[in-house]
């Protein structure tokens, strides 16, 4: 009997394919939107999470000036110096590594290729604290660091942009009149939770950067890793106290520097990403509701159009339940078909979106299953009223219809 009913439902739906498609369009859009949102949202949440995990050690970033998150400018606040780095390393016991950084963005040239990127002056301590692995070549020699030699270690993106597949080690790249020998290639890290490409960098000895590029002794950022087991919050407070003292900031005066806890920012981003995904999905779910109402509308029209058919079926012995099931199955088949199309479209959109936004692709089978179940439920809920109306028709009236 169920096979019969399914066959009949398919027949009725395919008899008027255009109308059937328009009927389920709401469901298609709703399901596609939810799936796409959740696929991209879950991917980006996952990425933030894996970034947090990748950060490894507890990391703090010290910058001059007050400002929001990463990328805030130093403004007029006095710069940091090598002495600050030394003081932090020596006087805050929970600090494992403090690495000085100073960067500037400029165009790097190799042969006839050029590429705009960030040049950062630092030393091997940064590689250690930020957990950079050397994929090829080596890190800086002490002599190179002391002398400020023109050598550099490049990120994976810079390598692919300038060298393609060719071996970069030993090549000489140029930026701002500096000819710099490539001694190492960093292992790729991918995009960060802040959306930037972490592999977009060239590292050189801090001294070389200060002398040949910046023309001063300034340090723009101190990158700090905290010892295992030590409290990041305590370390942050200790560093803040030390810096206030060193920068002669009196009680009641505002800091003219900032210490960021990367993990805190990252987990905040995870939260935002989750909330956003939820909100967008809720909006998308509303269109599922609208889609359901569309199905109900067309089913009611269909019941009216087929009143005579229903009368015939009742007269020759269909029970109320059989007519109810027939129309209910029709509504469910419609909404399930819409749901399936929506799942396919949503996954396609989600995967495309994930690729464009550079977040990992992670279709969730549970979400797909839920979308499937939800569209079936929409069919049952919104098909019930029209189906009941059909089943309760008076056969005599129905046969007289038209």
């Amino acid at each position: 009997m169920l096979v019969e009913v399914l066959r009949l439902a398919a027949q009725v739906i395919l008899r008027n394919p255009m109308r059937s498609f328009l009927t389920v369009l709401g469901i298609v859009i709703g399901v596609a939107a939810v799936i796409a949102m959740l696929t991209v949202g879950k991917g980006s949440t996952q990425q933030v999470k894996s970034d947090v995990a990748k950060l490894g050690n507890n990391l703090l970033i010290l910058r001059p000036g007050q400002g929001g998150g990463p990328g805030a400018t130093a403004g007029s606040a006095p710069s940091l110096s090598a002495r600050d780095v030394a003081a932090i390393t020596e006087q805050v016991p929970s600090v494992e590594i403090a690495a000085p950084l100073s960067s500037s963005s400029m165009t790097v040239v190799y042969g006839n290729q050029n590429h705009h990127t960030t040049i950062t002056g630092t030393d091997n301590r940064y590689l250690q604290a930020a957990d950079w692995q050397i994929a090829e070549g080596r890190d800086f020699y002490d002599g190179e660091l002391r002398a400020g030699s023109a050598v550099c270690i490049i990120g994976a993106t810079v390598r692919s942009q300038l060298f393609g597949a060719a071996d970069p080690i030993g090549a000489t790249i140029r930026f701002k009149q500096v000819a710099c020998k490539v001694i190492g290639l960093l292992a790729a890290k991918g995009a960060s939770s802040f959306g930037s490409d972490q592999d977009e960098l060239v590292l050189m000895p801090l001294k070389a950067f200060q002398r040949r590029i910046a023309g001063n002794q300034n340090i723009s950022t101190i990158f700090i890793s905290i010892r295992d087991g030590a409290s990041t919050d305590t370390a942050k407070a200790d560093i803040e106290r030390l810096m206030r003292e060193r920068r002669h900031i009196g009680p009641g005066e505002d800091d003219d520097f900032s210490v960021f806890d990367l993990k805190q920012i990252a987990s905040m981003l995870t939260g935002i990403s989750t909330v956003l995904t939820g909100l967008l999905s809720a909006v998308a779910a509303v269109s599922l509701l609208v889609g359901g109402i569309g199905i109900m509308n067309i089913m009611l029209v269909s019941v009216t159009e087929r009143t005579r058919e229903i009368g015939i079926r009742l007269a020759i012995g269909a029970t109320e339940g059989q007519v109810l099931v027939q129309f209910l199955v029709e509504a469910v088949v419609l909404s399930l078909a819409g749901g399936l199309i929506g799942i396919v479209v949503g996954l396609a959109l989600g995967l495309t979106g994930a690729r464009v936004l550079h977040v990992p692709i992670s279709p969730d089978p549970l979400v797909v299953l839920m979308a499937f179940g939800f569209s079936a439920a929409v069919g049952v809920v919104f098909g019930y009223f029209p189906a009941r109306r059909a089943a309760r028709l008076d056969p005599i009236e129905a046969l007289r219809h038209q």
Partner: protein, 237 residues
């Protein structure tokens, strides 16, 4: 299933009213009628005489307001909607003036329909539907839609649908109302044959004395009452 003593169909004091209070309209007043299995009964009467109401009650599509309708000893007024649907499904066959076939559905599928609701397996259903269509002389038209069939052929499909479940009774409401005289006589001959050879009881509403002449018994309705009940003309066949 019917004893010799009890008629297949027994109406006793059956009345039917629509509306209530001042607006009450009495469609049937105190009808008593007994029909034995195997009879061929023609019901005649002018419009509004109550014959359609009576047919609806006899066909278990409607229930009496008053009185008793016993079908094969079962009090139909006590049955609920679904039980009456089961009675129609298993014991009755309907033939309508307007054929009432499902559009865009082949003759074979139309004839199969009552068996679908009985839960007969598909292969068996096909076979029985094909047999029924053969009995009405349409074995060559099984795959045609109603729109591809003439009026007479459509009514034959409807008769095949009515007999496919081997009913006790066929209720025909002006089965020849939309057909020309030659087609009408073909349909009536078919009904007579089914009545005579298969022993199916036939209740038929008609306006045409020519068609009523095929029946063995003639019941005349007038103003919601039975005005005359007697034997009709001898069988034409």
């Amino acid at each position: 299933m019917t004893g010799g003593a009890e008629p297949l169909i027994a109406l006793a004091g059956v009345g039917k009213s629509y509306g209530s209070g001042e607006a009450e309209v009495q469609a049937l007043a105190d009808i008593s009628l007994a029909i034995r299995a195997g009879e061929f009964v023609a019901i005649m009467g002018p419009s509004g005489s109550g014959k359609s109401t009576a047919m609806n009650i006899l066909g278990c599509l409607d229930v009496p307001s008053r009185g008793s309708y016993r079908y094969a000893g079962v009090e139909v007024g006590d049955l609920d909607r679904d039980q009456r649907a089961l009675l129609r499904r298993n014991c009755l066959g309907f033939v309508f003036q307007g054929y009432n076939l499902l559009p865009r559905t082949t003759a074979l599928e139309n004839v199969e329909l009552p068996l679908v609701y009985r839960g007969v397996p598909r292969a068996e259903r096909r076979r029985l539907a094909f047999e029924a269509l053969a009995r009405v002389g349409l074995e060559g038209r099984v795959d045609h839609d109603p729109s591809e069939l003439s009026g007479g052929q459509q009514q034959r499909v409807a008769i095949a649908r009515a007999i496919v479940g081997q009913p006790d009774v066929i209720l025909a409401d002006e089965p020849t109302g939309n057909l020309d005289s030659a087609r009408s006589h073909e349909i009536m001959q078919l009904m007579s044959t089914l009545n005579r050879d298969a022993g199916i009881t036939v209740l038929m509403v008609t306006h045409e004395p020519d068609m009523a002449a095929y029946a063995g018994r003639l019941v005349h309705f007038l103003d919601g009452r039975i005005a005359a009940d007697g034997s009709g003309a001898p069988h034409a066949g």
